[in-house]
């Protein structure tokens, strides 16, 4: 048996999040043989990230003062940092749009004794440390984890969700309202936009295997915007979606605009465009995206 220490050290730092990314990672066994897992409190009794970590996965957003401390410490001990999931890339639920009042009542309710303090907002991790690779998704599939860990350089990722969906776009099937989900039936094999669903797969980065749209649920954009929209201002991706719905449907513009103001989009698809407005954040190039 090879001595264990020859395998590269691998650590998983969970900031404020739901553990979904960790649960997904646990479904992809390949890394077990290729790495020496030195830190991942969900499955290993270890309370300290050791030195000389080869790959550090960071999940969750920066939500507490303790998160900042752990993130900086972990990154300083690691050669490569991979940001994983919606929260690490954009902060997560605290970034639902127009939530100023909610944010205030949340902060008012979050004073505790002897516990980490909650920050006024949730931050993506690249506000505090350099990130080598971004793996968006809520959560990323096990297959995407393997791609990020073993073959990031040669990764071939579908450009948009539609490429992997297989549902057919029909030019003559033009819904008049976005009420597909209320109809009580999903027609198989036909594009969900044609059926009056608010599906944003046309602008969303692929690679997920169209897990949601194939069984009949609209894409909510959890993989973030496709490459052409990276680092573009928020209106760019919204305009593109507006054009898609105008081209494919007869839905009134006011209803489309209302849908574009949806919390789904602010939580998921906007996860990059939000931050193009913030000078403190580095650009995220397509070379760094999985």
């Amino acid at each position: 048996m090879e001595p264990k220490k020859e395998l590269p050290k691998f650590a998983v730092l969970q900031l404020s999040g739901c553990s979904g990314c960790e649960v997904s990672l646990l479904n992809s066994n390949e890394w077990i043989e290729n790495f020496d897992l030195v830190y991942m409190p969900l499955v290993v009794s270890s309370h300290k990230i050791p030195d000389d970590v080869e790959v550090l996965l960071v999940t969750g957003g920066v939500r507490t003062d303790e998160d900042i401390h752990n993130l900086r410490k972990g990154a300083s001990r690691s050669r490569k940092v991979i940001a994983v999931g919606t929260c690490a890339l954009s902060g997560g639920v605290a970034q639902i749009r127009e939530a100023h009042q909610a944010r205030q009542s949340y902060l008012d309710a979050s004073h505790r004794l002897r516990l980490p303090s909650m920050l006024p907002q949730a931050y993506p991790i690249d506000r505090f440390v350099d990130v080598d690779l971004y793996l968006p998704g809520c959560p990323p599939t096990p297959e995407l984890f393997i791609t990020a860990l073993t073959e990031a350089e040669n990764a071939k990722i579908a450009s948009i969700v539609c490429q992997e969906c297989g549902r057919k776009k029909l030019p003559d099937m033009r819904p008049k309202a976005l009420t597909g989900s209320r109809s009580g039936v999903v027609l198989p094999d036909i594009c969900l936009v044609n059926q009056g669903y608010f599906c944003v797969g046309t602008s969303t980065r692929g690679g997920c295997g169209a897990l949601c749209t194939r069984p009949g649920h609209a894409c909510v954009g959890c993989r973030g915007p496709a490459n052409p929209y990276l680092n573009k201002e928020p209106s760019f991706v919204l305009d593109n979606l507006r054009r898609t719905f105008t081209r494919m449907t007869d839905i009134p513009e006011v209803e489309i605009n209302e849908a574009l103001d949806s919390p789904w989009l602010s939580l998921f698809l906007d996860q990059f465009t939000d931050y193009t407005q913030d000078d403190a954040l580095p650009k995220r190039t397509k070379e760094k995206m999985i």
Binding site: G17, V44, L211, G216
Partner: protein, 436 residues
């Protein structure tokens, strides 16, 4: 005063145990959640129909239960009844989650305590020469759960197939048959591992000299007496001395469960009728079950009751009950997959309307209720009634018992740190959910 702080691992989320000692005596043991998720704040004002996609994100471990509870709460408001086929597919989905969760708790979280390892993967290193590699087997059994969730829910974390009015699509025959084959192959392995776990637990109990003695408590489960149906409708309560003494609908929960926030934790704490300690999770369901209606699981249930009595109260029994439930869920899922889950009506149309509604499911950690108020099509208020919160008083009390056992005028026994971990893991708390 001396304060001992123990960070915790092999549980969901960020938490720690703090024990205060005055004059060589344990004054207080506390279980503290270290983060605050805040979903109940952030979902205020969002379109009601979008909440079913957002709230699974409360917790990646329990996302299935949140998704179904959320959909059921809106169905309650919109007055829509899903077709029977959809109810069955939701049950398969929840069984998948039970398999995933119990396999994770048994083999990834708590098995290392029984063999003095820091993780399942470290154990694997030591046991490579064994006939089968325990870690690989554990992950395979766990994967039956995640595959079932994918089959019935579309994806295994934050599933999407459960929608208001039903489910988006059925389970194809061919996929169901593949799943049945996998279960048939791995069920004997699961039984073998549960037996092994049971045996190691007995050895550990003998070594420690205790199974975690504690006072009797109330028990809370929404499963039925002769069925462990997880897509549930009512909550049952067992009184500390044995008989089932209350039975209530989700909309009545505030009459029975009092939930308060504390100063030292981001998680709430609930009590039964404002004063009593209660317990939810595996031991509550098993104490409240007379039959599981599945042959192998029923044999385990019989063995458990004959060995430990009913109701059983020791803390480590939670772990054994998870083993029984793992076997149950594998048997039950196999049986359900034999039926035709592909053809027939999977959903019905609905019209949104305002109102107040409640959605209940039996999550792996106990009864979970989503309680919403919808006004002008928007969420006005959302309360998440979380099973881990119902266990908080019981966790604290159990920690106090264990701290007293290992703290004396002669000093602090080094076993305390391990004991604290074992006690918390027996309750399998979920911090993300508890701080929603």
């Amino acid at each position: 005063m001396t304060t001992l702080t123990y960070p915790l691992s092999r549980i969901e989320g960020h938490a720690r145990v703090v024990i205060d000692i005055y004059d060589d005596e344990v004054f207080r043991a506390d279980f503290q959640a270290m983060e605050m998720r805040g979903f109940s704040y952030y979902v205020q004002g969002i379109p009601a129909e979008q909440i079913t996609v957002i709230v699974p994100r409360i917790c990646g471990v329990c996302s299935t239960a949140h998704q179904v509870a959320s959909v059921k709460a809106l169905e309650d408001i919109f007055d829509v009844t899903p077709p029977p086929l959809a109810e069955d597919i939701r049950e398969v989905l929840l069984l998948g989650q039970l398999i995933q969760n119990q396999a994770t708790s048994l083999f990834i979280f708590t098995m290392p305590d029984r063999v003095n390892a820091s993780s399942l993967f470290e154990m694997e290193e030591e046991q490579k020469q064994r006939q089968f590699s325990m870690a690989q087997m554990a992950l395979k059994i766990r994967k039956i759960g995640t595959d079932l969730i994918s089959l019935a829910g579309g994806q295994f974390i934050h599933p999407i197939k459960t929608v208001i009015g039903g489910v988006t699509s059925g389970i194809p025959r061919q996929k169901a048959d593949e799943m049945i084959k996998t279960i048939d192959t791995l069920l004997p392995t699961a039984v073998e591992m549960v037996d092994h776990y049971w045996e190691l637990s007995m050895i550990m109990g003998d070594r420690i000299g205790s199974w975690g003695d504690d006072e009797p408590s109330y028990y809370l489960a929404s499963t039925e007496e002769n069925s462990l149906r997880l897509n549930s409708n009512r909550i049952r309560v067992l009184c500390p001395d044995g008989p089932e003494c209350y039975n209530f609908a989700p909309y009545e929960y505030q009459d029975y469960l009092k939930i308060e926030m504390g100063d030292y934790s981001y998680a709430g704490v609930s009590s039964f009728k404002g004063k009593h300690v209660m317990r939810a999770n595996s031991l509550a369901r098993i104490n409240l079950a007379h039959s599981l209606d599945m042959p192998i699981a029923d044999a385990y249930l019989k063995r458990f009751v004959e060995t430990f009595g009913r109701p059983a109260h020791a803390i480590m029994f939670f772990d054994l009950c998870r083993g029984i439930e793992l076997v149950y869920a594998l048997e039950k899922a196999r049986k359900m997959l034999e039926a035709d889950l592909e053809h027939g009506q999977t959903e019905v149309p609905y019209s949104p309307r305002d109102g107040e509604g409640f959605g209940l499911v039996e999550a792996p950690r106990g009864p979970l209720i989503h309680h919403y108020e919808v006004e002008n099509g928007l969420i006005k208020r959302a309360d998440f009634v979380i099973p881990t919160v119902h266990n908080m008083l019981a966790i604290r009390r159990a920690l106090t018992v264990v701290a007293k056992r290992y703290v004396s005028p002669q000093g602090i026994d080094s076993e305390l740190e391990k004991a604290v971990g074992r006690v918390v893991r027996a309750f399998d708390p979920c911090i993300a959910c508890a701080t929603n």
